[in-house]
Structures are given as C-alpha cells and as structure tokens.
C-alpha cells in the first residue's frame, strides 16, 4: 500500500510541477511509434482488440505517431508482463491487460505485480459463456450437469491455459453442480472452439468472440452466460437468436459469475502528463465507430474507467480473483 501512496504522491508532485511550469509548453506526445503489447498469441482476443485499436487510431488520426502491435505471448503471457515491468519510464509502450495480471503471479510465481505498472484505462469487459456441441441433446444447464454427473469417464471441458480464468470457471462449475470434468487446457480459445465442434470435448467456457463463428454456423449451442445479467445486444446473431437471448447461469440455477477486464497499462515511473495523454487517447478510441462495432460484434461490454475509479476497481477485482484462485487450489506454494 505504501508503494501505491508513494506512486500517487509522485504523480501529484509531477502534476503540480507541470501546472507550475505553465501551459506554454505543449502537452506531452509520443515521440516514437507506440507499441501495444499483447500478452497472448496471434489471432487471440487481445491481439484482435489491439489491431482494432491500431486501425481506429490510424483511420481517425488520433495520434501523430504510428501504432505497432507487438506480440509477447511467450510463457502464457508472462513474457509481456516481464517486458512491461522492465520498461520503467518508457511511455511508448502500453499493455493490453486481462485477468492474467492477477492470476499468473499466483499460479506460476511469476515475479510481477500490476501495481508496478501505471493503470491508464479499463476499456471493456469480456463475458464467458458455457457452450456444448450442437449435436448433443442438452438444452439447459441442469440437463448438461446431470449428464456430466452420471458420466464415466468424466466429460471433457476444453479451455485456454491451465490455472487461469477458464480453469477457475470449470472448478466453480464443479462446485456448484457436483459434476466432475476432465479439464483440457488448449493453447487458444480458437483451438478450444474447433475441438468442441470436432466432438473431442463435451463443452467449453469460451468468450463470445471465440465461439462466434461456430455458433453462427450452428455447430455449438450456448447454455448460459456467467454474468449478473444477460448480454445487452439484441441483434440476431445465430439464426434468430441474439446474444441477449442466452440466459444467465444464475437463472439456470447455477450461480457462477465472472467477467474479465480488458484494460490498458503503461510501464511504471511515467509522468502524469504521459498518463493523461493515453487516458485521452483511449477515451477517443472508445468513441470511434470501429470500437463500437467491435464491441457489438464480439459481444463485449463497453466500459471506460480511469484514475482513482480504475485503481479502486483493480484492487477489488484483484481480491476477487485471488479468492477464486485460492478456493480452486491454484495458488503455487
């Protein structure tokens, strides 16, 4: 906590300093191409989002310097975290973060703490949905859970990565339904989707974007969304079903909720001016048509949070994730 206070103090001091020097000098702007660091592989949800931002910034001339996307998905994303940690003071690099910032340090003892970086903005929330192969008879979570309970060998649940959000959701699902799953960690959500279509797994808990195309093709069926309320999009997506037609898992009698942040971070030790530039930049990005279209298409929940609100949210989210990881027994000793 002291670290955070010091950081805030420094920030405040820097801000005061800028105000003192007056507005004669123009606000800070990047002097080199800006690198969006992706903590996942090519084609994954983070990569897609980074490319959307790259094209939104470029097409709408939101910044003079060009944007490059740099993929640092090594070691399940730990590579990107260590890269950002080692970039203190370099305001030309922004990380597009998700729940791995809480989970990876716990499960794999990666020496990283998100408080070492500078939070800039939360830009969206991603949902999770329980999916089954369309050729199976299950229409409700209860039917599926009952079948899973009776099955030997246990049903296979596909997901991305081990001891991460998909795995945690699987454990939560086991606890609430009493069924047991054999969890298969694949390397990407896309792979988890095709493996479900090929009937190599019985179900997965993919993000909407990861299963969108196979759903539209009628190959998979959503059972419920792990969220407090239904997804807000009413436009028809697959046949005459919309994202909003998927019931919540809670309504289906299985009270499991999880939403994942998509947020931007600068490295540590950047000035308040630099942070302010990016807050403004991402604010403008969330107002572009590209962003809005992307949110709707991928069924993401639009959001925008900066400054104190964001830090408060991150602290709460961290506690929540830590609790889930501890309950699931995924914290490395």
């Amino acid at each position: 906590m002291t670290m955070l206070t010091t950081a805030r103090f420094c920030g405040a001091a820097a801000l005061a300093l800028t105000l003192a020097t007056g507005t004669a000098s123009a606000a800070w702007e990047p002097t080199k191409p800006v690198e969006i660091v992706v903590a996942a592989g090519a084609g994954g949800a983070s990569d897609q989002m980074a490319r959307m931002m790259q094209s939104a910034i470029q097409k709408n001339n939101l910044m003079k310097q060009p944007v490059v996307v740099s993929l640092k998905g090594g070691a399940s994303g730990a590579e990107a975290l260590m890269y950002m940690k080692g970039s203190d003071g370099d305001a030309n690099r922004v990380l597009i973060a998700y729940s791995l910032i809480y989970m990876l340090p716990l499960s794999a003892k990666v020496p990283f703490n998100w408080r070492d970086l500078t939070p800039v903005a939360v830009i969206a929330f991603d949902e999770f949905v329980l999916w089954v192969n369309a050729s199976t008879p299950y229409k409700t979570v209860k039917e599926f859970a009952d079948a899973a309970k009776a099955a030997t060998p246990p049903f296979k649940m596909g997901g991305t990565g081990s001891k991460r959000e998909d795995h945690v959701l699987t454990v939560l699902l086991e606890k609430k339904t009493g069924a047991k799953f054999a969890y298969l960690p694949y390397t990407s959500g896309g792979e988890a989707a095709t493996q479900l279509v090929g009937n190599h797994t019985a179900s997965n808990v993919n993000n909407p974007s990861e299963n969108l195309e196979v759903w539209r093709a009628g190959q998979v069926r959503p059972l419920c969304v792990f969220s407090k309320e239904r997804i807000s999009y009413k436009g028809k997506v697959a046949g005459d079903t919309a994202w909003g037609d998927i019931p919540t898992c809670k309504d289906q009698g299985v009270d499991v909720q999880y939403q994942m942040l998509r947020a931007m971070f600068l490295p540590g030790k950047v000035t308040a001016e630099q942070t302010a530039f990016y807050e403004d930049l991402f604010k403008k990005v969330t107002q572009t048509a590209e962003y809005k279209e992307y949110m709707e298409k991928q069924a993401l929940k639009p959001a925008f949070m900066t400054g104190k609100d964001m830090v408060k949210f991150l602290e709460e989210d961290d506690t929540l994730n830590k609790g889930l990881m501890t309950d699931a027994g995924f914290v490395a000793q």
Partner: protein, 509 residues
C-alpha cells in the same frame, strides 16, 4: 464445377493494374524477408500489416499473402548458398541443396527449389479450390490423440529412416526435447527449468536455435577450412533452368508424395517444418539409392521444398474455413482479416464469396508471378557466391544476429544464437545430426501437451492411440517406421529362406 466458375470470377476481381502492382511489391518484399535468416514470414507480414488498413480487403489480403509466398520462395536461397536456413522450413533443404552448391550446382539447386515450391503450392491450391469443404471437415477429426500420433510419426520417421547412427539420432532428439521443456508448461500452468531467470521464461526459440546451429556453426567450419567458400564457379544461364525442368518429370513420384504430405500436415496444423522433414525422409526411404542423399542430389531439394510449400499454402485453408491458423503467418493474416471485418469461420465461404475466391485466385497468380521473379533473379543470387568469404562472412554474421534479435526483440537471443553456434560446431565434429534436435525443439512442446491432453481425456489409458481407425493407422505407421530397419532385415531374411534355390544359383554366377 461450381468452383471453377467462382474461380474465374475471382480472377476477374484480380486483373487490374493496381492489384497486379501490389502483388509484385508484396512478392519482392517477401523474398527479402525470406532471405534474411530469422526475420521470416510471420514477422514480415506483421510489420507490413498496418500498411494495408487503408486498402480494401481484397487488395490488402492479396498483398499480404504475396509477402507470404515471397517468403516461402526466399527461404530456400540462403539454405542453398550458405547452409543457413532463411526459414525454419528450409532446414531440410540444406541437406542436399548446400552440397549441390558446393559442387558448383548452385543455380540448379535454386531452380529446383523454386520450381518444386511452385509445384507444391499449386497442388495445395488445387486442393483448396475443389475440396475446401471436405478437407475442412477432415481437420475437425483431429483431437489430442490424433495430433500426438502425427508428431510421433514425424519423430519415428527420423529415427527409423535417418541415415545417421540410430543412437546419435536419439541423443540429438532427446536433447532437443529437453530444451523444448524450458519455459511455461501449458498443461500444468507452471514454469519449468527457468531457474528464476526472466530471459528463460520465453523458452528457447526455435528460430534462434536454427540460426545458431546451422548458420553460425557453418561459418566456424568454413573459417577452419581456410576461409574459402566452396563452389563459386556456378555457371548460370537459361539453359540451367531448362535442364532442371527437363529432369523434373523423372521425379514425379517424389513431387506427388511431398505434395500430399505437405497438404496433409498443412491442413492439420502439423506445419511446414514437419512436412519438409517428412518429405525429405520419405523421399530417401523410397529412393533406389538412399545413400546418395545428403551428397547433393537434386531430389533431396525437390522433396522438402515441395512439401514445405504445399503445407504453407494448405495452412490457409483451416484458417479460412475454421478460423484456426495452420501456421504462424496464417495467424497474423487471421488478425488482419478481423480488422477488415471478415471473421473466418465455417460461414466464410458462404458469406464472403468474392473475397475468398479473390484470395484463391491470387494464390494461383501470385505463385506464377513469384516463380518468374525468383527464376529471373537466380543469377543475381548465385553471383553472391563469387564474393570472397572474408567479405561475406561478417555480413552473414550480422544478418544472423539481426534475425535472432528481431524474433523477440531480445538481446539474450543473440547470446543464445552464439551458444547454439558452438553447439552446432561440436555436433558436426562428432557426427551428431542437427536436424532431429531442431525438430524436437519445434514439435517437442506440442507433442508433449497433446500426449498429456490425451491422457487426461482418456484417464491414463494408452489404448486411446488405437481408439479409432484414423489414430490407430497413424500410430501403427509410426511404429512401423521406427522399427523399419529391423522389419526390412526380417523381410530380407524371410525372402532368403523362401527362395533358397534362387540365391544359390545366383551366387556363383
């Protein structure tokens, strides 16, 4: 023949000056990217992707895929001239390509490489054109056990069919598997063998190892042999090209076999790398004169290049039809498609017909134009061999270092590359083959995780590898290849026992 009509429409979309010009630009950029070791197709496409955001999707994908074709062509150039694979899938091309260059047949080897690349792509494109939907369904049949069986087949074909001593192949393979284990274990989510180092988190990058093992060690060996690059009297003319083309039909079986292997491994993401190795090994196995492989046989260039290209091209099919990229470059192209609002998946072929068929038509056109470009520049590339070694070695070294650095922007990788250079030098001196090592490094992780996923899914029951005809056939084939030397020896003995009279008669004669 609905496909044929759609394809013609696709050509109609492409035949404008603007698109043809973009195609040329893409191909030339791609060849450069392919020539520089380590820079590679994925990086090249990633760097140039933003350039295309302002274009319409068809122009953009045509240019990007042409960079990809260019890189596929370019990868062979340095393999043949300097024994340094420009791309991972060109490793197998060095086996016979470099000896050919040493014998003064650099131009022949390059022509062979480019032409067979073209044939491989053409085969795969034809497959995409006419069989896209059914091939895509075939790929869906691959779960963890099937994937593991394919990797096992690749490993076994190496041990069973390799020219080198079996124990040395196994030593090399095992060391590669060990190094592949460094970094994050995706199945348990734990770090392995990183010893607290953040540099080791990423694991050992395959390309860094390839550049060191092949490139740096080759420079060390050449230095030892009095700074002379051998084989610099390559005569180059159109006649050479013609000569190679006339010879080609004789190797139709190799070309066809490699095309099939390549397409298969491209569709089921086994990758161009495994395909090129398997193509080479099988060509050797079925050859009447296996011992001459590795000494500069043109067939040894045909086989891996055809397979690598067929695979590189076929890898685009699962990307379009399933949204699963079959290769690194395909994964970046996938990212690009999404930026243009095209979501690859089962409905792509239905909803975006114009785009898909424009792309397929561009595969035909891009490969033809690419072949012409690379062939006309063969003399230029082969002339590099006439430059004195003392002048070119530092350039190669710098280019290797840039390549190793560029893969992950890490200084550590340059040290790693130098270390692998020394390892490669020692291995060559004591006769341990390098190829199994690199193969294990690239496929080790995937093989391990698909094995463990199969075990989790089957509750530890090994019979899962014979649980359906598909996986059973591949697994059995793998073991047959592994024990091939024993099996063929038994066959020979059996023949002698069955036909004793004949062998007695032929003896004294």
């Amino acid at each position: 023949m609905e496909a044929f009509g759609l394809l013609l429409q696709g050509f109609g979309v492409l035949l404008t000056w603007k698109i043809l010009a973009l195609m040329m630009v893409g191909l030339i950029l791609g060849i450069f990217v392919g020539v520089l070791p380590g820079l590679g197709g994925p990086n090249g496409v990633a760097i140039l992707l933003p350039l295309t955001f302002t274009m319409d999707p068809t122009s953009a994908i045509v240019m990007l895929s042409c960079i990809y074709w260019g890189a596929l062509f370019g990868g062979a150039i340095t393999s043949i001239l300097f024994n340094i694979p420009g791309e991972a899938w060109s490793v197998a091309t060095t086996f016979d390509g470099y000896p050919m260059a040493q014998k003064g047949q650099a131009a022949e080897a390059l022509t062979a490489a480019f032409t067979s690349s073209f044939i491989g792509s053409l085969f795969a494109v034809l497959l995409i054109t006419f069989l896209a939907p059914s091939v895509a369904t075939f790929a869906l049949r691959f779960g963890p056990p099937e994937f593991f069986a394919v990797y096992l087949l690749t490993f076994c074909s190496f041990v069973g069919l390799g020219r080198e001593d079996k124990h040395k192949t196994i030593i090399s393979l095992t060391l590669g598997l060990l190094l592949a284990g460094i970094g994050m274990d995706t199945v348990s989510g734990q770090l392995r063998m990183t010893f607290g180092s953040t540099e080791l988190l990423r694991g050992v990058n395959f390309l860094v190892a390839v550049i060191g093992l092949f490139g740096i060690s080759e420079i060390l060996l050449t230095m030892e042999e009095k700074l002379a690059l051998r084989g610099h009297t390559a005569s180059i003319s159109l006649r050479t090209v013609w000569k190679v083309w006339r010879e080609m039909p004789r190797y139709w079986a190799t070309l066809l076999r490699s095309s099939i292997i390549g397409s298969w491994l491209g569709v089921t993401p086994g990758g161009a790398i495994a395909a090129s190795f398997m193509g080479y090994n099988l060509a050797k196995r079925f050859s009447r004169d296996p011992k001459s492989f590795g000494t500069g046989r043109i067939e040894g260039v045909f086989a891996p290049e055809t397979a690598a290209h067929a695979s590189g091209t076929a890898a685009l099919l699962p990307m379009l039809a399933l949204g699963i990229p079959g290769s690194g470059t395909a994964a970046i192209l996938l990212g690009g498609l999404m930026v243009w609002g095209l979501n690859p998946g089962p409905l792509m072929f239905v909803e975006h017909k114009d785009f898909v068929w424009g792309l397929i038509a561009s595969m035909y056109l891009g490969n033809v134009v690419g072949l012409v470009i690379v062939l006309t520049t063969v003399p230029l590339f082969a002339a590099v061999l006439r430059v004195p070694f003392s002048a070119i070695a530092p350039m190669i070294l710098v280019s290797c270092a840039i390549g190793a650095f560029a893969i992950q922007n890490a200084m550590f990788d340059i040290w790693l590359m130098l270390l692998f250079g020394i390892v490669g030098y020692v291995f060559k001196k004591i006769g341990i083959p390098l190829a199994p090592f690199t193969l294990a490094l690239v496929l080790g992780n995937r093989a391990e995780s698909s094995f463990r996923l199969s075990m989790i899914g089957a509750g530890g029951d090994l019979t899962v590898f014979w649980s359906n005809p598909l996986v059973g056939t591949i697994t059995t084939l793998a073991f047959t290849l592994l024990f091939w030397p024993v099996i063929s020896a038994l066959f020979d003995r059996g023949k002698r026992l069955l036909l004793p009279a004949k062998s007695e008669r032929s003896g004294p004669a």
